[in-house]
Subunit: 800 residues, 2 copies
């Protein structure tokens, strides 16, 4: 009866595995992928209905009810993510704008009397904000430092960094951003907003934070990694959509830059989330326009409208634009390289000395930033205001306490402005708006722009990697638009044409620097178009991005990839490495010994094996009646640990149990197997077993993955890589070459019609269709004759 | 020595297989995918460098030279595709605009004297153009009928429809479009432009058309299906970019709607192609503005600028907008269903009667269209012109022979216009411009719009599927904007607000109908934004699309999917069907007997096997010394046919040949194995062999795919489906469960660093990195000790 046991074992495994909330990506392929199978209209739960009648009916009924609930909750969550991220963005924006607004208003009013006092107030204000940020981050939420995009990218690639999606990280990110951006550091709030969106999505996905008693049971429907990843993808898109008010850019950012596995169904939901964010932000802006968000409330939502700028371009301009692209590529690659070195040094020396050093470092950076941004404009001589055109809405100098160009700062006369202060002594959003602005030819001197470029570039490099939430988008735009405007000045002088606007070149410069640093293409292009609200420059932005990305790629990898590597997040690239062609699957496994389990295993053996190695998956091997061995599946470490901890499945007999053959039923609540988000799960050292327990046995059959993906030992590693990467696996079994072929699956075998489409099927007239119909019939016959796994059994019977 | 033979056989297979220009997608995975492996900077040729030293060095040298050439040609082709598609679009546009312009000018000048004569001239002009189109299509290029998008979609999904990418199809498509669109039928030129782009790309990819002696040897570098598919993807994007002047929309269209396998590297090249198209079209437009393209030359490039329209929206408007979404979903789904029935009827009854019936049908449709578009406005009473505002640039009635609103047609007085003629008796581009136009409240009566909606909808349904090139975008926009404007009229009346523009609702209606019919999301959204040059309505377009797609999905599939199914193009959807969960791989194979070859096979056996079945792939099985059988690979039918045709590899001995053991070398020119694009390839019936030939043998080892993907027999079919679909396979071997596990591949095993990045590797400090370094070292040792395939050999030696 051993072969019967084998059969029952594998069938039980199929049944149970399909209900496990698997915490492994591989599980995800078994259950998660197969789950989305009933056409594009609805998405069903992860119940693999098996041939056992008693179970099938029950499951079918449960399934139908759950399907509706599951789909509903999915879309409801997308809505919630959109609303949540939108509100978080509005909150951060209003706070930053108000803090910065008060700061500059206060400083400007004090410097009317004393520049020294104004200087001190300015420094203190900045220091206070920055310190609050670094304090929150170091003491409360260490994972909130940096932009968070490399970590999120890693998460969606399959590497879970500890703590990045916790509730405390969310809080730290939101309040930390307010402090660091409001405190005038050379960083932006856009990267952190992407992280914020991801945190909100992940917390919703696990039904709230368990630690802070905010969880809700009815929201806990998403237990597979796949569902959580989908939610986090939505969150990323929502973050970009909120940060730039660029809903399409958000979708593309999530698609191009963040996710590793993308399905067209997901696009649809991500799109919805972005649309919700757009509506929320727009509503908040309408509300702010009436003055309810403080004096400076409405300024922070990035739209650098350049629609009154250059409408057209001529061929002569393509050369200077190409030059901008090259500069962007060079400066971007240099930025990546410098930040890489500095971050490396920080990680290995500076930040090892504890959080006090981190705080001192940030405060020092803040001090330097304040001194430079206040002090440098003081050294600069003011320029006289240009002659005012009649229709121009631009005032010179701008009225105190308002936004605008032509800042009067340390100027002797009334009708003068300080061009360096216009960009330096300002919030970054306004500085960019001033740099992009049209109809302001000759506002800036080349000297000021160059000074600003060098200083700000250095500040951005130094600030990157400090222990505060920091985005690279806005600093990148600042740097890029400065040299872009510089090039634009020369073009205006050289071509002497009237329709050339320096602001257009500033925009192209911004695109080129971001392209050269982050190496995004389509998403960046769309984001640039959406934030400038101008479609006419699209071909130019494309051109500049193409050049800058190509130049940058010649030197190093993109910013996020470099940072992910530095942080030890091993991203699997979309393409296999060159060397892999020469290697086989067997060589990749090296000389490691494969540790496997028999089907029924002694608890003591499990414990000793789990303690002696770090593997996360173990093949399970059983024997047929005549002694042949057979790989029956893959057991995950995490599931083994749950079994050891709960002990309910321990048995005294070393023989397989059979739940349907009179044996004990499966006693587990399947949600126990779900791994909490962003935690390390249980460790073998946390589990304490008595000596009696150690003498007992576990039948692994119900809990293993019955059909992991396998490859023959001499398959080229690049093929294996593609399989691994495309399907998002965690384990592949390497097995010997097969001795015989049971069948061949081709496209035709996989074309099975839905029953509901039978009307359409009857319309079909081609030969392919006819064949398919035949196939369908024959499959059904086979289905009726042979229950599942008969193939295996037939072989066993014949061999026994 | 048999096991040595086995070893040599498989090694030879590896070597040769890697050089075959495989005409199968599976090949594509073996060679094509593994080929893109040296980082993101360059892409290398398909040489799988093997362990054999003699070959390796030669290949390495050839490889490096070829890599540069290959990458250069790839980008050069992207440039050419962009230029070619851009020029084709410009040509079609100018031709259509000029024909249509002359037609309307002539008609308008004649109806000043006699409406009957004008009517006849109008009908004749249309009939002539349409007849030229249908004549070209039926007599010369039958594959040019319809939009071509379903066929291209099928091609990129892996199904090659005969003739869709030929040179004659390209010519037929271009001239056919000019006739059918210029002839005023209810169809558009956008779908055909996508097909045109794909044809241009494919012809470039095969180095010109061999039949028309336009081929060039140095362009023939792309021999794998994968490269060709990449080019066709670029062509599709170029087509959309040219048709709508929407470069980003083109990229997204290619991504969302057309391709089945997408890689981020491809996005980059597609993006470049789109940018080139944008520049070409813009240059041509600048050239046309100076009047060099004929009087009507500049009007055809779709930009329906609505930037002077509604700037803002209020919450009360969301309800009517949702209603537009629902209407769009319903009418779109109805359109899909009606066209499905009519196309089915046409395919099975009408069009079976030969091309004369097709021609008569199209001419009849043209006649009806002309009568309705001329006759219906005659029945409509003219309305008096609205009072002219001071600043308005809109004249009423428009000057004769010009574009614009307020067409004076069959009106008694001078200051009157015919609202039905304004949309009906016009080119579709202008009609849409008039429907979208702002500041023209109450231009149309509800009665006229409703009449137009019903008539045009019916015409579009009837015209769809006739034997002329026909796109659905512009008719869809026409239909949608009509009911959108209708809803807009009610909203204007109901809310009595001044800032509501009917044109905005027309735009949303257009989006909703396209969403309800084609079911695109992000790409459609971006295209709508790009053609209207207005970003402010983006959230509203998103909302409307979400609703209309959801409503449409409740009834049927998207237009292209339905049409593809009807045409017998079996598209593999991205998700497995629900039933597949219950099935195993073995069941999918059914009871079909597996036909396999031994390694050395008699020619007569090959011929009889190829004649007796239709399989495209055959497993090859060899025996080890002690009689164990072993699957050594998969042989493709197409390659067998090449072998049979050339006969150079026939041998007298039934023993395996060994090219390095003193046997004969491989005599084949590898390009022989490339299948020409869009041809059926050779058939077994075309090959004639003498009786002497039939008695000879072929050693298949050099030509087989040595490691096809395998799955265990009891793997669930949904998992198999994912494997098949994600990797774009054509064959999967179903094998018995393995008896043992040689190793386990995990993420860590696949993280191998490039040597060139060694500097960065040294920076790594985390534990994962350290482990990786160890792994790398051990892999290299293993590599040095055991040459390739040793695993197999060791097993053999031990068993013998």
């Amino acid at each position: 009866m051993l072969s019967n046991h084998l059969q029952n074992g594998i069938e039980t495994a199929r049944l149970v595995w399909s209900r496990l909330p698997n915490s492994d990506d591989e599980a995800l392929d078994e259950v998660g992928l197969s789950k989305k199978s009933d056409g594009s209209r609805s998405e069903s739960l992860d119940y693999e209905v098996i041939e056992n009648n008693a179970y099938r009916e029950e499951q079918a009924q449960r399934g139908k009810l759950m399907v509706g609930y599951y789909v509903g909750v999915k879309w409801f969550f997308a809505l919630l993510i959109g609303i949540g991220t939108g509100l978080a963005a509005v909150f951060i924006n209003i706070s930053v704008e108000n803090f910065a607004g008060w700061k500059f208003q206060l400083t400007f009013s004090i410097i009317q009397k004393s520049y020294v006092a104004g200087f001190l107030v300015y420094i203190l204000f900045n220091l206070l904000l920055v310190f609050s940020s670094v304090y929150i981050v170091t003491q409360f939420a260490p994972a909130a430092a940096g932009s968070g995009i490399p970590e999120i990218k890693g998460y969606l690639n399959g590497v879970d960094t500890h703590g990045i999606l916790l509730f405390r990280t969310l809080i730290g990110k939101i309040f930390g951003s307010i402090g660091s951006v409001g405190g005038g550091l050379a960083l932006g709030k856009e990267g952190p907003l992407v992280h914020t969106g991801a945190c909100i999505a992940s917390l919703l996905g696990q039904g709230g934070s368990t630690k802070y008693h905010l969880s809700s049971r009815w929201l806990q429907v998403f237990k597979t990694d796949r569902d959580r990843r989908d939610l986090v993808t939505c969150g990323c898109a929502a973050g970009v959509a909120a940060a730039f008010r660029a809903p399409v850019g958000g979708v593309l950012f999530a698609l191009e830059e963040v996710t590793s596995w993308w399905r067209s169904q997901l696009m649809w939901r991500v799109f919805f989330t972005s649309a919700v964010v757009a509506v929320v932000v727009r509503t908040a802006m309408g509300w702010c326009k009436s003055g309810k968000c403080g004096h400076f409330g409405s300024g922070g939502f990035i739209i650098w409208d350049i629609s009154d700028g250059q409408e057209d371009y001529s061929f002569e301009e393509l050369l200077p634009m190409a030059i901008i692209g090259v500069i962007g590529g060079l400066l971007g690659a240099l930025f990546n390289q410098l930040t890489l070195y500095i971050t490396y040094w920080r990680r290995n020396y500076l930040h090892k000395k504890g959080s006090r050093v981190k705080m001192i470092e940030v405060c020092l950076v803040s001090l330097i930033t304040s001194v430079i941004s206040f002090g440098l404009p003081l050294l600069r001589k003011c320029s006289p205001c240009p002659e005012v055109e009649l229709n121009s809405s631009i005032e010179c100098p701008r009225p105190p306490g308002m936004y605008g160009n032509y800042v009067n700062f340390y100027c002797g006369k009334d009708k003068e402005y300080n061009d360096l202060a216009t960009i330096f002594f300002n919030t970054q959003d306004d500085a960019i708006r001033n740099l992009f602005s049209a109809k302001t030819i000759h506002e800036y001197s080349a000297q000021s722009l160059l000074t600003f470029l060098v200083m700000f570039y250095s500040l951005a490099v130094v600030t990157f990697g400090t222990a505060v939430p920091a985005g690279q988008f806005v600093p990148g735009i600042m740097i890029g638009s400065t040299y872009g405007r510089l090039v634009g000045m020369f073009v205006v002088n050289f071509y002497k044409k009237l329709n050339i606007e320096e602001g257009t070149y500033a925009l192209l410069g911004a695109a080129s620097f971001l392209g050269g640093s982050m190496r995004m293409t389509v998403s960046l292009c769309v984001i640039m178009v959406e934030i400038t609200n101008n479609l006419k420059l699209l071909p130019l932005i494309m051109l500049v991005l193409l050049i800058s990305k190509a130049v940058g790629d010649a030197f190093n990898e993109g910013l996020y990839e470099e940072q992910a590597r530095l942080r030890g997040i091993p991203l699997l690239e979309s393409r296999p490495k060159y060397q892999m062609r020469k290697m086989t699957a067997k060589e990749a496994c090296g000389n490691k010994k494969v540790v496997y389990f028999p089907r029924v295993v002694k608890v003591a053996d499990v414990v000793s094996i789990l303690q002696s190695n770090e593997h996360n998956g173990f093949p399970v091997i059983d024997h047929t009646r005549n002694g042949e061995s057979l790989v029956i599946g893959l057991m995950l470490r995490s599931h083994l640990l749950v079994l050891l901890q709960s002990k309910v499945d321990f048995q005294h007999s070393p023989l397989p149990s059979d739940p349907r053959g009179g044996g004990k039923p499966i006693r587990h609540n399947f949600t126990e197997f779900a791994k909490p988000v962003s935690s390390k799960g249980i460790s073998i050292d946390d589990i304490h077993l008595s000596s009696d327990d150690l003498e007992m046995y576990i039948d692994l059959a119900p809990f293993l993955n019955p059909s992991p993906y396998v490859v023959p030992e001499d398959m080229s590693l690049s093929k294996v890589y593609n399989l691994f990467r495309q399907l998002g696996l965690r384990h592949i079994l390497v097995v010997p070459r097969a001795s015989r072929v049971i069948g061949l699956i081709t496209r035709k075998d996989l074309l099975i019609e839905d029953n509901e489409n039978s009307e359409t099927v009857e319309l079909q007239s081609t030969s392919v269709r006819a064949q398919r119909q035949d196939r369908k019939a024959s499959v059904r016959e086979a289905d009726a004759e042979h229950p599942l796994l008969n193939g295996l059994l037939v072989k066993e019977y014949s061999s026994s």
